[in-house]
Amino acid sequence: MATDTTTEVAGGFGQVSRTVGQLFRYLLLAATLFGLVFVTILLVYVANDAIQPLTADPGWHLTFFLALVVPTLAAGAYVYRRDGEAFQTGALAIGLAVVSLMFSGGAAMIFADIVEPLTFLAFLVAVAVPGVVTLAVVAYDDRIPFLGQFAVTVAAFYLSLFGVPGPLGAAAGISSVVPGVFGLLAGVPLAPAPWLLAVLSVGLPLAAVGGSLVARDRGRRARLFAGAGILAVPLAGGIVGPFVGVDPLPATVVASVGFVPPIVYAANVAINVPRERVALLIPVTIIVGALVGAFAVDLAGFAGPQSWVDWAFLTASHSNTAEDAGFYPAIGGSILLMVTVAVFAFPVGVGAAVYLEEYAPDNRFTRVVDVNISNLAGVPSVVYGLLGFGLFVTYLGQPDGTVLLGGLTLGLLILPIVIISAREAIRSVPEEQRAASYGMGATKWQTVKNVVLPRSFSGILTGTILALGRAIGETAPLIMIGAPNVTYSLPTSFSEAASAMPLQVYAWSSLYAGPNFYNKVVPAGVVVLVAVLLAMNSIAIVLRNKYQVGD
């Protein structure tokens, strides 16, 4: 009877029963939260094992509670009540700082152990020079036919990167006559200290971008000034680093990649958005609170938590004793894998998406391709591993387990996801925009280049980052292609074998060397992996929100 929807006359209108509807509603809510709650509980357990917050002195907790948590909550509440948008800006600043710092760690790793700063700088210059040539040629495009432009561009890149005669000549047995810009610079015998080179190659571009952002409305001189101010950050990093026990090179990179973006963001808010200046209260409170807390804890001698995720864990390699085991080579391997995956899957996936959405005729072939891309997205990852092994190792004779092989295999794995999400983004460009462009006499290429891609770009990027998040956690395909579970040093090139974070965790979990591996080191690895994943996803989410506001 309770489910009866008849009305009873009361107060003139009566009531309509909604019991079933309410029940249904709460069942749906339960279904929504089910997975989320269980994963959260699991992660809390894992984080507890890895970080062991309860091993800290109560005084330690109390100090940080008073110095950091209470002021932060107060500042947050104050800013939120004054201006909801400013609160978002402040939260974003903190998020940006955390994410930048994490990425700066990765970048520092790359510069310390994988790419020489000189090589990187030489590469940058060798790409920039023909880039400028290309721009110049394009500016005169009414006087030079397309094929001429194309030839000049290709020649400029080839000469700059490889010199004369380059790999083409090498294939024909002619040795190098004139080195390219890259060879010339990379071979300079008397180069300044590596950290100064890092300032040049990483800090300078960031300073240029940041300077023009911060002082965008204030003329050339202000922009130069702001840029110089920003450049001081990596310089200071390199100089101060050695005094606090960090090598100057990683210190420079961390200062550039980790400190510059949040500083630029904060400076931009402070200078250009006076209405939201109050937002900066939040990051300032957090930074000051953390410093004060750390200082006070040190003074009072309170011990912090005995976290397994500590500096040693992040910078050491695997060891047979749990206390000494570290994650460093696995982190580096994952970074290199992700770079390879992105370089491969992004252009191919976006290209396929643009073709399918804008060019493909509506015929049976297209529909077959369409359906099968969706199918590919559901193929188990082990199968992709098998494919990678069969294609690259057995058929093309590549060595197993290399970064290149792993990257290509994972790239194949996420390719359908990249394609599907990029198509979604491209499809969300309103038809009226295309009509407007075609109506102006634009060709298909011009419409795609000027209207479709700019409008869908952040959506495409969001989808790609989420797909990369999938790739970074994959284990099975890497096992299939023979990637080593454990490596003791970072790979220094793409043709070297490398482990990856999930592989290393898997190796620890199957290593019966002691309960600590099982109970402590594995959770520590999981915490790092999940933190990287969350950082990537948060970038994607911020991008997506910005993109939706843009609509």
């Binding site: 509506d362 009509a435 407007a436 462009s437 102006m440 006499g441 060709t443 843009g550």
Partner: protein, 293 residues
């Protein structure tokens, strides 16, 4: 002769229309009459001319044997009830119909004597000569400047783009409102301003013909009258074809009026004054005075 026409029409139409056959015959006869009439008052120099133009969406006929001569440097209004094929006709002129897969066009539509449906006509080149303004304002999410300069950039128009952008914005009666914010996004303008921005964008590369599909339907009365003034001014240099549901608007701004009625027929075409004061066909009069449609 008129008898003949009506018979063949009735035959060729087969049983596709549900209208009483009698009615249809009368109207068809009248169309033939209208054609004669038009010939006698023929404008010397039609820039757009269609003969026997049929358009189908799949199996469905949207335009039925349209014959029309649109004079140069005049405003031609197209009026008619919803679904009678006005937009379809407009899209024939710049071949935007090519973008609709199910759409099929037969017959002839020529621009300055050249049939635009000939195999050697590049629709992209055609659209550079025939600008279009759509029913809903559709500026790009780019700056105001870049919006107006879009056609100049993609068509590689010679000359000083800054000057052309300024000139176009002035002609679209928008310059005074936006000259201090050319770098801000075109989407930040009001609907009426956006539509005038779209008009500026369409006229910047200096097309020969301007097609406007209900350009004022999304605008308030003030913006509407601004756009109307603008159209009258544009007609000094351009051939404007404008679709509208607003009779007063058609009467006010156009030199010639074409009345399409349901079924995709062009029922009457002639000088605007004559159409509105003394239409030849009862159905046209009924439509104009609001008795149906």
């Amino acid at each position: 002769m008129t008898e003949n026409t009506s018979e063949t029409r009735a035959e060729s139409d087969g049983g596709t229309t549900a209208d009483p056959t009698n009615d249809e015959m009368v109207i068809e006869t009248d169309v033939a009459g209208a054609t004669d009439d038009r010939d006698s008052t023929a404008t010397p120099d039609p820039i757009i001319r269609s003969r026997d133009l049929d358009v189908f969406y799949g199996e469905e006929r949207a335009l039925d044997s349209i014959d029309i001569d649109i004079p140069e440097n005049r405003v031609t209004a197209i009026i008619g009830p919803s679904g009678c094929g006005k937009s379809t006709f407009l899209r024939c002129v710049n071949r935007m119909n090519d973008r609709i897969d199910s759409c099929r066009v037969t017959g002839e539509l020529s621009l300055r004597g050249k049939n635009v449906y000939d195999d050697d006509v590049d629709p992209v080149a055609l659209r550079r000569r025939v600008g279009m303004v759509f029913q809903e304002p559709n500026p790009f999410p780019k700056s105001i400047y870049d919006n107006v300069a879009y056609g100049l950039d993609i068509q590689d128009v010679e000359g000083d783009h800054d000057e052309i952008v300024e000139e176009s914005l002035k002609r679209a009666a928008l310059w005074d409102e936006v000259n201090h914010q050319l770098d801000s996004s075109g989407l930040e303008l009001s609907g009426g301003q956006q539509q005038r921005l779209c008009i500026a964008r369409a006229i910047a590369p200096d097309p020969e013909v301007l097609l406007m599909d209900e350009p004022a339907s999304a605008l308030d009365p003030v913006a509407t009258s601004q756009v109307e003034d603008l159209i009258e001014e544009l007609a000094e240099d351009y051939t404007v074809i404008i679709v509208t549901h607003n009779m007063q608007q058609a009467a006010r701004i156009s030199d010639k009026t074409a009345v399409f009625l349901t079924g995709g027929e062009l029922v009457e075409f002639g000088d605007t004054e004559q159409i509105f004061e003394n239409p030849e066909h009862q159905r046209v009069e009924d439509y104009i005075t609001g008795k149906f449609g």
